[in-house]
């Protein structure tokens, strides 16, 4: 509970406390809809919309909400915005809506959103909450697009539906299947762990060099 600056509120969610890659929140949508970049983007946009709106509303109204019905009230707020997002996508981007299927509705239960409300918006002012929400939303988007890109490129040989390798590319079907979702995220985590480890050993080496000189 160190005091943070507004810019830290914003930056934090993007990488250092990335909701998907570090905190392991909201994994269901992160795995379910990342078979293509377009879906990942649509999902991120919807989530972004919901998390920002609810953060604003909740940090504004936190005073009026008794603790006992806190979660119910938050969920009500989130669900309202999800419904709005759902209807709007259905009206203006029906193709994407069909692709994402039930997972738009499932934004309601994305632990990440509720978690941010509980952990941050309920305790902070509107401005900071919004910053936090935007940061988290961007972090979510980054993670989803990363996964979507990986899966789409290997799984269909294209990026944003633009074919990359020509027609004789052999798609790795598994990448767009459920197993591929798990494996992709697992692979990304291993890779991040590897980088982390490398950084650590390098730091240690540097220290050792310093100590010996």
């Amino acid at each position: 509970m160190r005091k943070t600056t507004p810019s830290q509120d914003f930056i934090r969610g993007i990488w250092k406390e990335n909701p998907v890659l570090i905190q392991m929140l909201g994994l269901c949508p992160a795995l379910a809809v990342t078979n293509t970049v377009k879906n990942a983007l649509a999902m991120s946009a919807a989530t972004f919309f919901v998390i920002c709106c609810s953060s604003i509303l909740i940090s504004t109204c936190k005073r009026f909400i008794p603790n006992e019905v806190r979660i119910s009230a938050y969920i009500l707020v989130i669900a309202t915005f999800v419904t709005l997002a759902d209807m709007m996508l259905q009206a203006y981007a029906p193709v994407q809506h069909k692709e994402l299927g039930a997972f738009i509705a499932l934004i309601v239960v994305n632990c990440m959103i509720l978690g941010r409300q509980e952990a941050f918006s309920a305790k902070n002012n509107v401005f900071r909450s919004l910053l936090d929400a935007i940061g988290t939303g961007i972090g979510f988007t980054i993670a989803l697009v990363m996964m979507g890109g990986f899966r789409e490129i290997l799984g269909t040989g294209s990026f944003m539906e633009i074919s990359l390798f020509g027609p004789s590319f052999e798609p790795w079907v598994i990448m767009v299947l459920p197993a591929g979702g798990f494996l992709t995220l697992g692979f990304i985590l291993l890779f991040m762990g590897y980088i982390e480890q490398r950084k650590k050993t390098k730091l240690e080496e540097a220290e050792a060099v310093e100590a010996s000189s």
């Binding site: 119910s72 499932l106 798990f182 590897y194």
Partner: protein
Amino acid sequence: MNDQTLFSIFFSAMVVNNFTLAMFLGLCPFMGVSARVETALRMGLANIFVLVLTSFAAWFLNTYVLESVPFLRIISFIIVVASLVQIVEMVVKKISPTLFRQLGIFLPLMTTNCAIFGLAIFQTNRGYGFLQGITFAVGAGLGLTLALVLMASIRESVEFSDVPGIAKGTGLVLIIAGTLSMAFMGFAGLL
């Protein structure tokens, strides 16, 4: 309207289209509560209970309340689920603090468990009737429990292994889940 037989609904939800391994529903508890077989089993059973409750509630809302306002589905479902879970939580906390401790923070997590909400949505989208809905819920719950318990027993056994540093924790769990998911593909077409 839906003509699927109860058996095929049940079997599909449990293994072929396993909620966790094929549909990506309820991953948070799958990652979080799958470290010990005992807790996993308990979480699974709690899930079955809440799923059946939800299925019933969703069916009730669909048939009697939401007729003229179908666009309120998401919000009504979630209020019902959240409130039910909160009530269960409060009751458990009072009646059995030990049980509460064991399920720890995961009772509130149930509120934000996609599996439960997803069940309500899928049930509605597929137009399941009452019996079909309950069968779907039990099948999905058993599927969740199966995945949870399998994962937990694997994780307990992996605890004895010298897992390399970079794979410790979630990375390995995801890879195990991926492999399990590949193995479950063997059931595809079994309907």
